[in-house]
Amino acid sequence: MLRYTIRRVLLTIPTLLGVAVLVFFMLRIIPGDIVEVKLRGDGGSVTQETIDMERHRLGLDKPMLGQFKDWMVGVVTFNLGKSMWTERPVMEEIGVRLELSLEVAILATLIALMFAIPLGTTAALYRDTWIDYLMRILTIGGISIPAFWFGMLIMLGLLTAFNWLPPITFTPIYVDPVANLTQLIWPAAAVGYRYCAVTARMIRSSLLEVLNEDYIRTARAKGVFEKLVISRHALRNALLPAITVIGLEFTFLIGGLVVTEQVFNLNGIGQLFVQSVTRNDFTLIQGMVMLIAAFYVFVNLAVDLLYAVFDPRIRYS
């Protein structure tokens, strides 16, 4: 187990390094940077001299490898530099928005789990009946309906039914839990639908697989109540692959949030990412991508290690 853990942890290093190289150089292959957007963005005429000065100030005129080295040193010491647009530290820009996005993500996970487990289980138990077909349509709907449009529909529904729109200013949960939840539950539902659909599908198929196992037949043969067979023997084992999906989809929520936050006008990580892309804010893009990738890699690592704990076969392969 120790050897497996060490090997698995070491494997994250090349991945993260690769992400850093990819993002850093991809942003810089094509000419055009933030200075142009910043100074020439609104059509003003600026001399080449001013542009060069600004580039120099931001360190964009240094050799690329030097810039990369500086940035990597920063990353290793958890200093992601300053945003080229607002001049505030990248960590701070992300930090002030993290709370909101994280809360929406967690709420979405809770909503998803609440629906996915019963949905997936019933679909598996009533396989190939109309219940199963209905679940199939519902879950494929979940991965088909764009989260941002679903969000717009929710807003439209709230507006028509109650003539009410979620407020735009963010209230932290420890200040006013009711106001906070009434604001964030809607975007969470919008991104949660997809999450729920993916998880329910996974639970359905892994439960069907488990139900074919010998130990289920044994349990039934020795006269265990069907309810207990499902909840104790089958569902427990079926949830393991579902954990993977839940873990990986959690990081994919960030992708969903990028678009959905725009709809609900929430000032979160997603909005910040879109802004930094439109502004060509290299340091901020790099910082956010590194964080998202690191998050993904560590969730993946945690899932793999959990798997190894539960399933000894994996440790020795």
Partner: protein, 299 residues
Amino acid sequence: MSLAVLSPSALKSRYAFVEKATEFCQQQPLGAISFVIIVAMMFAGIFCEIVAPYDPLTIDFAAILAPPSFDHWCGTDAYGRDICSRLIYGSRTALVIGFTSSFVGSSLGAIFGVASAYFGGRIDNWIQRVMDVLLAFPIIVLALVVVAAFGKFLVWGIDVNLIIAIAIPIVPRVARVVRAAALGVRVMPYVDAARAAGYSNSRIIFRHMAPNVVAPYLIMLTAFIAQAILAEASLSFLGLGVQEPTAAWGLMLSGNAADFYRQAPWMVLFPGIAISVAVFAFNLFGDALRDYLDPRFKV
């Protein structure tokens, strides 16, 4: 030549295809329905000029924000443009971008996957590490970074860089699945036989291994058309994909559509329905195709 067409084997293969199709429809009724939707959409996309009642770009100030009526089936937008026509032209945009990016991404992924499985060892390791890196991004995040890096490059009014941006995240996802399938093919005796016969690596990969991983490739290709259409809609919605005045579904939802919730809900409703139905059809078809082609997955 005409004799050849009438030869029993040709007839048989033609009937075999019809038989296969009937069998598919019987086994997968949902898949058949989704296929009809896809064909209808392709028809609308190819024959936009004939099908659409109005020009999608004509601005009509007499009919700004007109509600749905017999003249304008889905109403008009803030510039008086007919939404129904824009939806029909939008299906062309969605299909072109969806098909090409999924095809490019899935094919590259399949090549990497098969090569990775065939060569094994160090090459496999390297390809896997690169794929790991690409997998560490959610689809939309990677697409956004590529858009930010590459800007726009229009060919015949279609942004090639947008297609690349959507294709890149597809590559590792397909590569992983195809690699797993190809690992099973590699140990087959006929691959050994081909190697013993002295065929080149590329011949073995393309002629002997690739045809045997077609099933997962096709399934992934269909499923990723859905994802690609969704990604295009999201990027266009954010203002980083297709640009005005080109008709695109995601674009129709962005900008001022949100300002008119109260006055013109049809501006929000119809484009979203179009995206959902299109993506739904491709997802359902991919699902049915998987169940049909690869019964092993049908658990």
